[in-house]
Symmetry: C2
Subunit: 600 residues, 2 copies
């Protein structure tokens, strides 16, 4: 069993003492000089903690005043605040690696600058299909001292009762309402269907299209289980067995009796915090108990820090966020993840990468039509006039030229025509990938605990200086993954200077998501002999606890890798896999030095 003391995470939690004197914080502000207001108090807008009343309109007014008065801080009182969709702002959002759509937004921080939202320990409770925080074109925003959660999660949980070739019996846990309607299990908000079922049906369903088994005792993905993916469904074929017991009529499901079968949502509509085209965004002592997508998603943003935060489930739930804890796309400046706990989220702890578009047509000597291929990248309009882009051969992933953008004609969320400042090179091919050459962010990932989530720990796909140190990983897949491809995920990666030191890798790879604890991959499908996608990786002074002779390092198409002064200890935390692995797998690499003298 893994034992990590959680209290260390709390050491630095301290409630901010408000020192500034405020002339007046009453709701009636017409008599005040706007320049005098540094702090606004949410209670002055009618938002009373723990009264159960929707606080969306209070927040909206307060944020409007913050903007108009140039207030520096918005302060909550301790207790619970509630947010419902009815009166919320609404905007269409394209959010990378999450789902686009017209969203209700509780905290709409569009074009707001120089503001700290200090929760003073408040718990922000969201009800229904609503996005907690959305930033667009904002600067110098700090979030501190609060938590976010949902009264009804977007996923659902059950206990496995048994299975056979035709299906599985489960008992749906309390707190996850459901119904069986005409042979289909649908998760609901617990409200009864009103009136007859027609096109005006008022029922709300929490659509699900994915199942994954968790170990109820260990509170982590069960040993070596696989995802059960379903295409494009909202509920599962099923039959009532009485009470909260249900037979899922899906052939081939397996699991361990007593384990927790998690029903993942069929969308990522409501990530916790969306930071779009923003700068200098800091999180301190924020807890994300749940989100309907990624916890913190930064896109095309500059300087983001997440410090002393937690992604962790509430109320005895198995799952925290339904996707990655954090995720950063085409960001710049610095990204720092320090002193955080990331646990039980339904995907990786972080992924920091760029996006490739694919060339689908050369429409003139100086023009191409490019397409965003991954549906959760649609609408990610990163190409701007004046920008330098790299031209990358689709199969080899070799950058063969760079070009400067002159003009951009967006055709729709998938397809854009780009005109360059000169003719394109003659060797441009349909199927080539194009990505932004930017001020790749400097990455610091330090003193974090990552555990018990689905899949991997950290995905390092960034060309800025990347330091990963003093973290503890207990990941079912690779603890650290490098990738990047232009045929499936279309994520631009390729580190140039990456240090992984003083980390503890505690019994990782107890699941199916990876072949090595540190897995340096790349989507190179041609010219492997010369393509070197990741470069200059130093792995030193780390401790690996392994329950079997697993692969510590896989390196593919790497130029420059040093492995030294790492220690490896064997445990019996899990059954042996029964397979035989090489500790180091190195293919198509240059300049790899592996010194395993201290390893065992």
């Amino acid at each position: 069993m893994l034992k990590i003391n959680r209290t260390s995470v709390f050491l630095c939690i301290s409630f901010i003492v408000v020192l500034t004197t405020v002339c007046s914080c009453s709701k009636n502000k017409s008599v005040e000089s706007s320049s005098n207001i540094d702090i606004l108090y949410l209670k002055d807008y009618g938002a009373i903690a723990d009264d159960g009343i929707d606080d969306v309109r209070a927040i909206k007014k307060a944020l409007m005043d913050c903007k108009s008065d140039g207030a520096k801080k918005l302060v909550f009182e301790k207790g619970q605040y509630d947010f419902f969709p009815t009166f919320a702002e609404e905007r269409y959002g394209f959010i990378s690696n999450n789902d686009e759509g017209l969203k209700r937004i509780a905290f709409d921080l569009k074009e707001i600058n120089d503001l700290t939202i200090d929760g003073q320990g408040a718990r922000l409770m969201f009800h229904g299909f609503i996005s907690p925080f959305v930033l667009e074109g904002s600067q110098n925003i700090k979030f501190e001292n609060f938590s976010i959660d949902y009264s009804r999660t977007f996923h659902s949980e059950s206990i496995i009762l048994g299975y056979d070739a035709d299906g599985m019996d489960v008992e749906i846990r309390e707190g996850f309402p459901f119904k069986i309607h005409r042979g289909t299990l649908l998760f609901t908000d617990g409200q009864k269907q009103k009136g007859e079922l027609t096109t005006v049906s008022k029922s709300v369903t929490y659509g699900s299209s994915h199942m994954l088994e968790f170990d109820t005792e260990k509170r982590e993905t069960a040993y070596m289980v696989k995802d059960f993916y379903f295409s494009d469904i909202n509920g599962f074929p099923a039959k009532e067995l009485g009470g909260r017991k249900v037979r899922i009529r899906v052939p081939g499901l397996t699991g361990t009796i007593g384990n927790t079968m998690v029903f993942g949502p069929n969308h990522r509509k409501h990530p916790g915090f969306v930071l779009s085209d923003s700068r200098n965004i800091d999180f301190f002592n924020v807890t994300i108990y749940h989100a309907g997508g990624v916890g913190i998603l930064g896109q095309r943003s500059h300087n983001i820090s997440v410090d002393e935060c937690m992604v962790t489930p509430s109320n005895g739930r198995m799952i925290s966020t339904t996707a990655d804890a954090t995720h950063f796309v085409n960001c710049t400046g610095k990204i720092a993840l320090t002193n955080n706990l990331f646990e039980n989220q339904k995907d990786d702890a972080t992924n920091i990468h760029g996006i490739y578009v694919q060339v689908i047509e050369k429409s003139a000597d100086d023009k191409v039509i490019v397409q965003l291929k991954h549906r959760q990248q649609h609408g990610f309009d990163f190409i701007k006039p004046g920008m330098e882009l790299e031209l990358v051969r689709g199969k080899s992933m070799i950058t063969y030229d760079t070009v400067i953008v002159k003009h951009v004609n967006r055709i729709n969320k998938e397809v854009t025509e780009v005109t360059f400042d000169k003719n394109l090179p003659a060797n441009l091919e349909i199927g080539d990938a194009i990505a932004e050459i930017r001020d790749y962010p400097e990455i610091l990932i330090a003193n974090n605990i990552v555990r018990n989530n689905r899949a991997r720990g950290m995905l390092l796909n960034c060309r800025g200086k990347t330091v990963v140190e003093n973290n503890t990983f207990h990941s079912p897949g690779a603890a650290i993954l490098f990738e990047g491809d232009s045929f499936f995920w279309f994520e631009q990666g390729g580190v140039r200077d990456c240090v992984i030191r003083n980390n503890k890798f505690e019994n990782c790879l107890y699941g199916v998501w990876g072949k090595a604890i540190i897995d340096v991959k790349a989507g190179v499908r041609e010219n492997k002999e010369i393509s070197r996608y990741n470069r200059n990786i130093l792995i030193e002074n780390n401790t690996f606890k392994i329950y079997d002779d697993l692969t510590l390092l896989n390196a593919y198409c790497v130029d420059g890798l040093i492995w030294r002064n790492n220690s490896v200890k064997k445990t019996d935390a899990y059954p042996e896999t029964g397979k035989s692995y090489e500790p180091f797998v190195v293919n198509y690499c240059d300049n790899v030095e592996i010194d395993d003298r201290n390893d065992r």
Copy 2:
């Protein structure tokens, strides 16, 4: 069996002879004086009939030139043109009685005026999730001499093989691709799933959540069958039986072996023609073989005529459009439906109505917050400054006052705050309904054939002079329905001057959608003694063929209704229902005169 000669509909089809001489129609138009161009030919934009190549970009260029050059006509050649979503325009659309969403649009007619699109007999074939025609703020547009269809329909069809208490066996008809994935029947585009199933899954499903049985021989809804509605699903619990045979694992399904079970789509995303905030729109000799929603949808538009058109299935399919043939919401001026055939659509032939919002909060003496309640009315922002609105008591449907709008603050697609020019009456109640008092359109519905569709014929819910004459109805439900309520559909109705004469009602009411052939209903739930929602209805010189002693007329809360000189003939077209009906059911009415001397 119903026998209506379909050839009559074709009598007036004639191809327009182009008389105007055009100086040049080449694609290179820079040398031309824009004032000389009256007609543009699509072939000059690279759209070649029958070549199977996507014509979306050609149309887009041609429409841009129509706009910039002020061309009066865009002309096709005979043959098939193809339209795919890849390069199509994209816009978020709120379309009443259909589904909102970000849509790809083939013919984007936003703010285009004075244009005739003459198909010269062309067949426009749409592929995938794309909307054929969208007009917004356009004037004087004429569509003539073409058809629209989809290569893969949004619904699917099967033949019933048998059933028992647990489910039904069907054989999916050719032309409706499907797969069974992990116990769920999903309709597809016939393309194979590429790569592994993840969040980047490339499969396309044609979601379905509704089943309805059609008589394969008679090509109409089977005698007295009911809709099977499913809440919020995309596919059906099912098991493969080999070949195209499938067992639908849904308890309670029944049907007749050999009949056609139609799987209705779970959306109305792609109506054929959407006319929003437009004026003077004419359809002549246009055939709609299929649409993913209503065939022609007019909202907040003025003067619409549909003449010599057809809504009818192609390729031996049972179903034409997946919802109403036509539908008009908050329109003004004149609406004329003349000489059309509306058959096999999956809902009514037309519905002409307004929309009620509901008062959910009185936010000041002169302000209310109102909500659009029906989800397919969300975003229907009809309230504008200066507009006169009626205040309607929610349960009695009695209009008790009128008010003038001063200011509108849209909060989101559902909720709007409205400020009036003076304080609201003291008797305003939460739950009251509000609708626009407008230049209600004059309606002419003449010489149409309506048959074999789901549900009703014509829904008459308009206060302008309404004439329905010389039509032939063979509707499974009410041939003519009047309604209007503020608790379920939130559709404003209430005729003031309606004439129904010289129509043939041929063996209507062979299904479950209505209690009378002419059904005058209203959502009056209080003060029935005094509430008179529909007024002044004259029903004369009509012929009713009935297969049983059915209710000819149901009248509820009507003031002023005359029934005279109608004839009724008994047939044996269907089995008798076994129930006993009154020919005239009149409740809570004033001034009703029924002269049935000629009836039998």
